[in-house]
C-alpha cells in the first residue's frame, strides 16, 4: 500500500521549471528520503503535497485518493523555513496550530499534554517562545508538526540547526512514530544524515527525478564487486580475474581495493590472496547514497 502516488507532476514558475514529470511512490509505514541538491525542486514538490501550491500537471494520490483539502489534517509538515510566534505562549501556540489542523480544542489539549510529558517540556508551557533557547524552540516545532498524529510526516531539512542531542531525540521519536504506522518523508541535501534511517529514497536533480527505489535495491544495483583488503606481506596480483584499483602500504601493512571480474566470488579472491599474504581485514565496499548520488548527478551533467 502506498501512502502517496506521485504521477507525472510538473510545476513551472515564471522564469524556471521547478519539477518536470516527476513520478514515484512512497510506501506506507516507511521512512522515505527525498534527496537532491539545493534548488533541485524538493521543496516545490513538498509544497504541492502539502497543498500550499498546486501542480501545473500531474496528480498526487493520498492512500489512493486524489489529494484534497481534507487530507491536510493527515499530514504534518516541518518546513525548512520554520518558526513560531515569538510573543505567544508555548501552550497557546501548540493549541492554536493543532486547532488549525482541525483538532477540537479538547482533543488538541489532550494530545499536547501527552507530547510535552514525553519530551519533558511541561514547564515551558506558559513561557513565551522568545524566552526559549533555539534547541527548545526546535522541540516545540517538532511537537507542533506531529501532535495531531498525522499519517504522513514531512520534514524538510530536519536536522539543519539541530544540536546533536536534540537531533538524536528527534530521530528516536521519528522511529517510534514509524513503529506506530506513520510514514515519514525526509527532504535533505545532506545524504549522510539520513542514509541509516531511510528505507526508500528518491533522488531529484534539476527538476527531474533521477533515481528511486528501496535503499537495499539501489545499493545492490550500484555495487561494484569491489572489496577492501588489509594485511601484511607483499601483495602481488597477477590473475586476470582480479583487478587492484588502489593500493597503499605503510609499516608493512597494506590496504587495497580489489575488483572482481569474470563472475568470481569473494571466496575465490580470499583463496587466491591467502597463498601469498596474511589477511587482517576483508569487507565489501558498498557505495554510500552520497556516492551514488554524485555519480548520478555527474552522469546527468555530462549527458
Amino acid at each position: 500500500m502506498n501512502i502517496l502516488n506521485i504521477v507525472g507532476v510538473s510545476k513551472r514558475y515564471a522564469n524556471h521549471v521547478a519539477l518536470q514529470d516527476v513520478n514515484f511512490e512512497i510506501p506506507a509505514g516507511s521512512i522515505f528520503g527525498l534527496l537532491g541538491p539545493n534548488g533541485a525542486g524538493k521543496t516545490s514538490l513538498i509544497r504541492i503535497i502539502t497543498q500550499i501550491t498546486g501542480a501545473d500537471t500531474g496528480e498526487i494520490y493520498f492512500r489512493g485518493e486524489k489529494l484534497k483539502p481534507d487530507h491536510i489534517k493527515n499530514i504534518g509538515y516541518l518546513p525548512e523555513e520554520r518558526g513560531l510566534y515569538k510573543k505567544m505562549k508555548v501552550g497557546e501556540q501548540l493549541l492554536y496550530l493543532a486547532q488549525l489542523k482541525g483538532l477540537t480544542k479538547h482533543d488538541a489539549s489532550q494530545k499536547i499534554k501527552n507530547w510535552i510529558q514525553k519530551l519533558g517540556i511541561g514547564s515551558w508551557m506558559n513561557k513565551n517562545i522568545e524566552e526559549l533557547s533555539k534547541g527548545m524552540q526546535q522541540k516545540v516545532q517538532f511537537v507542533a508538526t506531529v501532535m495531531h498524529e498525522p499519517e504522513l510526516i514531512i520534514l524538510d531539512e530536519p536536522f539543519s540547526g539541530f544540536d546533536p542531542i536534540n537531533a538524536n531525540i528527534i530521530k528516536d521519536e521519528i522511529l517510534e512514530l514509524r513503529e506506530k504506522g506513520s510514514t515519514i518523508i525526509f527532504s535533505t541535501h545532506r545524504m549522510e544524515s539520513v542514509e541509516e534511517l531511510c528505507d526508500f529514497i528518491a533522488l531529484i536533480d534539476r527538476s527531474r527525478k533521477v533515481l528511486d527505489g528501496s535503499v537495499r535495491d539501489i545499493k545492490a544495483i550500484y555495487k561494484t564487486e569491489t572489496y577492501l583488503v588489509e594485511g601484511t606481506g607483499h601483495l602481488l596480483v597477477l590473475s586476470p580475474d582480479f583487478e587492484v584499483l588502489s593500493q597503499t602500504e605503510s609499516h608493512g601493512l597494506f590496504r587495497a581495493s580489489i575488483k572482481l571480474h569474470n563472475n568470481t566470488t569473494p571466496n575465490d579472491l580470499l583463496r587466491y590472496l591467502i597463498q601469498t599474504v596474511e589477511i587482517h581485514a576483508f569487507r565489501e565496499m558498498i557505495p554510500s547514497i552520497n556516492d551514488i548520488f554524485i555519480q548520478k548527478v555527474n552522469e546527468n551533467t555530462h549527458a
Partner: protein, 435 residues
C-alpha cells in the same frame, strides 16, 4: 469559515492583551480629560484678584472703571512721582496714569506694573477708556446715548433646507463638523489599523511561521482572519474610547460644573454683554436644533458602512504590501500609492468638498472606492441623493472585493518569498501566477 474564525480569535486576543493596547486605550481618554481639565485648573489658579490704582489727572474717569471680582480699581491721588514711589511699597499689582487729555488725540496714558501687565487688564482698561471717551464725544456732538442704543442691531441669518420632506433648519457649521469628524475618524482608523495588518504579515514572515500555518489553512483564510481580527481590535478600541471618554467627561463635568458655568457677574456688567450672551445662547440653541435635524441614523449607518468598507479595502492592500517585503524598511515604495489617495482625499475634503459638497469634485471622489469612505462622509450630513449614495456603496463593495482579490494573489506568492527585493514589475507577474 471555522479556520478564519480561529485566526480571527488569535489575532484579536493577542492584540487586545498587549500592554500597548491597554495603555493606549486608557491613556487617550485620560489625555482628553487632561485637555479639558488643565485649562480650567490653570484659569482657577491665576484667579487671584488684581488691584489696579487709577491716578486720574483729567478728572473725566471718576468711577468709570467697573470693578470685577478679578480686577479691582482703586482711585489714587497725588503727584505721579509720589505715586510711583509709594506704588513699589503698596500691594497694588499696577496703576494707571491718565494725564490731562486732549480728547481728539488722547495720549500719554500709561499702565505701570511691577511685572509685565496682563493682556487681560490692558484690554479691559483700553475698552473702558475708549467707551468713556466715545461717550463724552457723542455728548459733545449732541448724540443721545439712548438713540445710539436703539440703532444697534443684532443680526444672525438662520438657514433652512427646503425639500420634499418639508422644512428643516440646519447649521452649516454643525453639518460640516459632523462630516469632518466622521471622515477624520475613518482616515485615522484606516491608517492605524492598516499598518497593523502590514506589520502582522511581516511578523509572520520574519518569524518563519507562515509556511507552518499555510500548510493548514489557505493563504486567503489567513489574510482574511487577520484583517477581520484587527478590524475587531480597532472597533473595540474605539468603543472603549467612546465609553471611557464619556465617563471621564461627565465626571469632570459634575466636578467642575461651577467653574465651567458662565459667571453671572459678567452678564450683569453691561447691557451689551448681556446681548452677546443672548446671541451666543441663541447660536448654541440653533446648533442643537441643527444637530437634532441631522439625519443621525443615516449618518451613523453610513459611518459604520464606510468605516468598515474603507478599512477592508485598504486593509487588504496593506496586507499585500506586508507580504511583498521582508521587513518594514522596504515597505516605503509600496506604501506610497496606498497613502496618496487617502491623504489627498483628506486634504481635498477639508478644502473643496466641505465648501461645495454637491460639486463635481465631491461627486466623483465620493463614488470612487479609494476616496469615497472619506469624501462621502463629509457629504452625507449635507444630504446626498439616494442614487449617489447607493452607487458609492455598491462601488465600494466591488472595490473591496477587487482589492482583496488582488491582495490575495500577491499575498499567497509573497509570504513564501524570502530575501528578494520585489519590484512592481515582479508584483504584477505574481498576479497571474497559477498557484
Amino acid at each position: 469559515m471555522h479556520k478564519i474564525w480561529l485566526i480571527f480569535q488569535r489575532e484579536y486576543l493577542v492584540r487586545v492583551r498587549k500592554k500597548s493596547f491597554i495603555i493606549m486605550t486608557l491613556l487617550a481618554p485620560l489625555l482628553l480629560a487632561a485637555f479639558l481639565v488643565v485649562p480650567v485648573l490653570l484659569a482657577s489658579i491665576s484667579d487671584k484678584t488684581e488691584e489696579i490704582g487709577v491716578l486720574d489727572k483729567s478728572g473725566m474717569f471718576r468711577n468709570k472703571f467697573n470693578s470685577t471680582p478679578d480686577r479691582k480699581f482703586v482711585p489714587l491721588t497725588g503727584d505721579l512721582e509720589e505715586v510711583k514711589a509709594d506704588f513699589l511699597k503698596s500691594k497694588l499689582t499696577g496703576f494707571l496714569y491718565i494725564p490731562q487729555l486732549n480728547l481728539d488725540n488722547p495720549q500719554g496714558i500709561r499702565l505701570y506694573s511691577k511685572s509685565n501687565a496682563s493682556i487681560d487688564s490692558k484690554i479691559a482698561i483700553e475698552s473702558s477708556l475708549r467707551k468713556e471717551i466715545e461717550n463724552i464725544k457723542f455728548q459733545r456732538s449732541g448724540i443721545n446715548q439712548q438713540v445710539l442704543e436703539n440703532i444697534k442691531t443684532d443680526i444672525s441669518v438662520g438657514t433652512t433646507n427646503l425639500s420634499d420632506e418639508g422644512e428643516k433648519d440646519n447649521n452649516a457649521f454643525v453639518t460640516s463638523a459632523a462630516g469632518y469628524a466622521s471622515a477624520f475618524l475613518i482616515y485615522i482608523f484606516i491608517f492605524m489599523y492598516g499598518v497593523q495588518i502590514m506589520r502582522g504579515v511581516i511578523e509572520e514572515k520574519t518569524n518563519r511561521i507562515v509556511e507552518v500555518i499555510i500548510s493548514s489553512v489557505k493563504p486567503f483564510q489567513l489574510m482574511m482572519g487577520k484583517i477581520l481580527g484587527i478590524a475587531a481590535v480597532g472597533l473595540t478600541q474605539f468603543l472603549l474610547w467612546i465609553i471611557l471618554s464619556s465617563l471621564v467627561t461627565s465626571a469632570i463635568g459634575s466636578q467642575f460644573r461651577e467653574k465651567l458655568a458662565p459667571p453671572t457677574t459678567i452678564a450683569a456688567t453691561g447691557t451689551s454683554n448681556a446681548d452677546m450672551q443672548n446671541s451666543k445662547a441663541k447660536g448654541i440653541q440653533e446648533a442643537f436644533r441643527a444637530l437634532e435635524n441631522l439625519n443621525l441614523p443615516l449618518i451613523l449607518g453610513c459611518f459604520i458602512f464606510y468605516f468598515l468598507g474603507g478599512y477592508l479595502l485598504y486593509g487588504a492592500l496593506f496586507g499585500a504590501v506586508g507580504a511583498a517585503v521582508d521587513n518594514e524598511t522596504d515597505t516605503q515604495q509600496f506604501m506610497l500609492p496606498i497613502t496618496i489617495p487617502l491623504v489627498m482625499t483628506f486634504v481635498v475634503a477639508q478644502t473643496v468638498i466641505i465648501k461645495n459638497p454637491d460639486g463635481p469634485v465631491a461627486f466623483w471622489m465620493s463614488v470612487i472606492p479609494f476616496t469615497s469612505p472619506i469624501a462621502m462622509m463629509i457629504r452625507i450630513p449635507f444630504g446626498v441623493p439616494t442614487y449617489q449614495l447607493l452607487l458609492s456603496m455598491v462601488l465600494l463593495v466591488l472595490g473591496f472585493v477587487g482589492t482583496t482579490w488582488l491582495a490575495a494573489r500577491i499575498y499567497r506568492v509573497g509570504i513564501l518569498m524570502y530575501g528578494k527585493k520585489v519590484s512592481y514589475k515582479e508584483l504584477s507577474k505574481w498576479l497571474f501566477y497559477k498557484v
